[in-house]
């Protein structure tokens, strides 16, 4: 049972990370910066609970706010670049954040121990959960509550004008501008929201792995962040969840019995999925079909 709950935790945090990229992808911006925002959220939240004894929720919110603020600042220069240039710029941002934490020392003495981030050694003993008696079940429920809240917010936004505006910018910027949409406001807001969500994911990550270091927040993680919404389909938040279940549940854990072949299948299956379902696992047509099915049941 513990194992499945642990797996749920991992899927929750990764869904959160995927959702942070989902928001930004809707405006047509391919951002590999989510890992950087996640790092910021992770370190801030961990420092607050470990060094300053803050309660968990407050620390997580603080981490998300700082990450969101950073995303806002990154969003403005990001406006000037498109396509590949944006990809490279966001890669550079993630690397800068990672290298910053590589050089970041902030330790205070706690009795005979020194706690806090120590550059390349990382930040150990983030034991808020075990020290406060949270079981795997508690943590899993907590993580998924956060994820569910974020998903609900995004789903609600999708069905409101804000969602339409985001997608309009993603589809065709010039047409959107012609309708009077303020491109700057939309893109920066999306980036900020994505950053805050990623920061929240980072805070959760720090607490359930109990140890974070710069090598956790790499370009590869950022690539996974955009992989989830792209593989799952950008038409709905459920696509991201589906992709996380596919990758973390099926590919990583489910295929364990294949031993060595699992890793080879990983890349191969991603290529396959993108070839047979280029708009993602749950693309617009599938979602429409599902909606029809569910609405028919009511009659």
């Amino acid at each position: 049972m513990d194992f499945y709950l642990g797996l749920l935790q991992v899927m929750g945090v990764h869904t959160q990370l995927g959702l942070s990229a989902y928001v930004v992808l809707q405006t047509g911006q391919v951002s590999l910066a989510q890992a950087g925002f996640m790092a910021i959220g992770a370190y801030i939240a961990a420092m607050l609970t470990v060094l300053s004894g803050w309660p968990l929720i407050a620390a997580l919110i603080a981490g998300a706010l700082v990450a969101g603020l950073t995303a806002c600042l990154v969003g403005f220069p990001a406006l000037r670049v498109h396509g590949l240039m944006l990809v490279v710029a966001t890669i550079a941002f993630t690397e800068i954040v990672r290298l910053f934490f590589f050089n970041f020392d902030y330790q205070i003495a706690r009795g005979s121990l020194r706690v806090g981030p120590l550059g390349g050694e990382g930040f150990r003993q983030i034991r808020y959960f075990p020290e406060n008696g949270w079981t795997t079940l508690h943590v899993a429920i907590f993580i998924w509550t956060v994820v569910a809240l974020v998903m609900a917010a995004l789903w609600w936004m999708d069905r409101s004008r804000a969602g339409a505006v985001l997608r309009a910018v993603g589809e065709d910027e010039i047409a959107a501008q012609s309708c009077g949409i303020n491109l700057t406001a939309v893109k920066v807001s999306a980036m900020t929201a994505g950053g805050a969500i990623a920061g929240l994911a980072g805070g959760l990550y720090a607490h359930y792995t109990t140890h974070i270091e710069q090598s956790n927040f790499t370009i590869l993680l950022a690539t996974f962040a955009i992989a989830y919404p792209i593989l799952g389909g950008l038409s709905s938040v459920f696509g991201t969840v589906a992709a996380v279940i596919f990758i973390q549940g099926f590919l990583v854990e489910g295929l364990r019995f294949l031993g060595d072949w699992r890793n080879l299948l990983f890349g191969a299956l991603i290529v396959l999925v993108m070839n047979i379902r280029p708009s993602g696992l749950l693309d617009a047509r599938t979602m429409a079909t599902l909606r029809r099915l569910f609405s028919r049941k009511e009659h």
């Binding site: 194992f3 795997t136 792995t209 140890h211 270091e213 956790n216 699992r262 890793n263």
Partner: protein, 400 residues
């Protein structure tokens, strides 16, 4: 299917299941030990070798009569091995998976960046009811970053104590090579193990033995351009160059030193680099490098173990050798603590094994007796090897 039929069918199935399980209890009982480590990425060879070592050791014990359990029955060891891909989240997930089976101990991980988070997830102090950490014993074979076992009372390691090894090396050099007086370091900065070994071990110990530290050159673990660093080494013109880095950058630095014509009188390497990888990468440039290690086929046990591991498609080195030793240590602990290995005694057995491991003061290793510390670490016997003609040969064996 109607309800009565369903009930009848499930009753039938259940009876069959129970009856087929019962005869199994009369056979040898299974002692499940689960290894986990990196089977992917640049550290893939570590996982392969550890797995082979575990299987070889288990096979040997099973062939010579198995393990004596607490109620007098015999148990045979079953090994499974999981790939954690050197990833913290996956390592924790794998450990939870292992803990949900009948496995009694987790043997691993390979990577220190998995070990540290994993130990943090374990219960810190045994018996602390307010600590909801995982209660599952982990016995590490490879992850070598200093001071990790003290993170939790459920964590134990069988990894070499580099402080003692390099201290002995420098003392021996002082005695046998008195012409060597100065030392220059090369450090892989972004890997906790290599970084700590230069600053906290090599540098301190060399200074204590009276060597003059001329400085150090730094690089990152994926670097490929060592022109600056080799030039710094050239300027320092030290007798000894000590490279605290893994095979990829060790080879890169050695090649650049060769290109720039820097010929120190002696090159010393990092313990983990005394493996096949370094020789695959740069056998020519690594010629005569001296590295302290905790495994070489210098005793009959070591040689036999190496042969057995080869039959399971792995090679024995200081890392997988530790895994081999762990199985033997666990056999002793299981027998000593009266572990029952019954399906309903799993958690009790795990606690017994943990207790047994924490009580150990010394264990029998493949090349000699290892001492065990209160923190759950090991102080293993070691020897010095050097690269000669593309192979690692024993240079000096202090245990003799």
């Amino acid at each position: 299917m109607t309800i009565p039929r369903l009930l009848a069918a499930s009753a039938f199935v259940t009876t069959m299941a129970i009856s087929s399980a019962m005869p199994a209890a009369a056979q040898e009982r299974e002692i499940r030990l689960s290894g986990f480590g990196a089977m992917s990425g640049v550290v893939r060879s570590f996982g392969i070798n550890s797995k082979a070592a575990l299987e070889a050791a288990a096979d040997e014990i099973n062939k010579s009569g198995g393990v004596k359990l607490g109620d007098g029955t015999k148990g045979k060891i079953v090994i499974d091995y999981f790939d954690d891909r050197c990833n913290a989240e996956e390592g924790i997930s794998v450990t939870r998976r292992i803990a949900s089976t009948s496995s009694l101990v987790g043997i691993g991980p390979t990577c220190s960046n998995v070990a540290e988070p994993l130990f943090g997830v374990l219960q810190k102090k045994v018996g602390d009811a307010g600590d909801s950490g995982l209660q599952f014993p982990i016995f590490t074979d490879v992850a070598i970053k200093g001071g990790l076992a003290k993170i939790s009372e459920w964590a134990f390691r069988n990894v070499p104590d580099e402080g003692a090894m390099y201290a002995a090396l420098f003392q021996w050099l002082k005695k046998t090579r008195p012409e060597l007086k100065t030392i220059f370091g090369g450090v892989e900065e972004d890997f906790a193990h290599s970084r700590a070994t230069w600053y906290a071990v090599m540098k301190e110990v060399a200074a204590k033995e009276g060597f003059e530290i001329k400085g150090e050159a730094k690089w990152l673990l994926a670097d490929t351009n060592f022109t600056n660093q080799a030039r710094e080494a050239r300027r320092a013109a030290a007798d000894i160059v000590a490279i605290s880095a893994h095979p990829f950058t060790t080879c890169g630095m050695l090649k650049e030193l060769g290109r720039q014509g820097v010929k120190p009188k002696l090159v010393i390497g990092l313990t983990s680099s005394s493996s096949l990888e370094t020789l695959q990468g740069c056998a020519a440039e690594a010629e005569a490098i001296i590295i302290p290690t905790s495994f070489a086929p210098v005793t009959p046990e070591a040689r036999a173990a190496a042969d057995r591991a080869a039959k399971f498609n792995g090679s024995l080195d200081l890392h997988s050798g530790a895994a081999y030793e762990i199985v033997a240590i666990l056999k002793d602990v299981i027998e000593g603590e009266g572990v029952l290995a019954k399906p309903d005694t799993v958690q009790a057995d795990r606690a017994k094994i943990r207790n047994g491991l924490s009580k150990l003061t010394e264990t029998k290793g493949l090349i000699g007796i290892s001492k065990r510390t209160e923190e759950g670490e090991a102080v293993k016997p070691f020897l010095f090897v050097h690269a000669k003609g593309g192979k690692w040969e024993v240079l000096h064996n202090p245990t003799k």
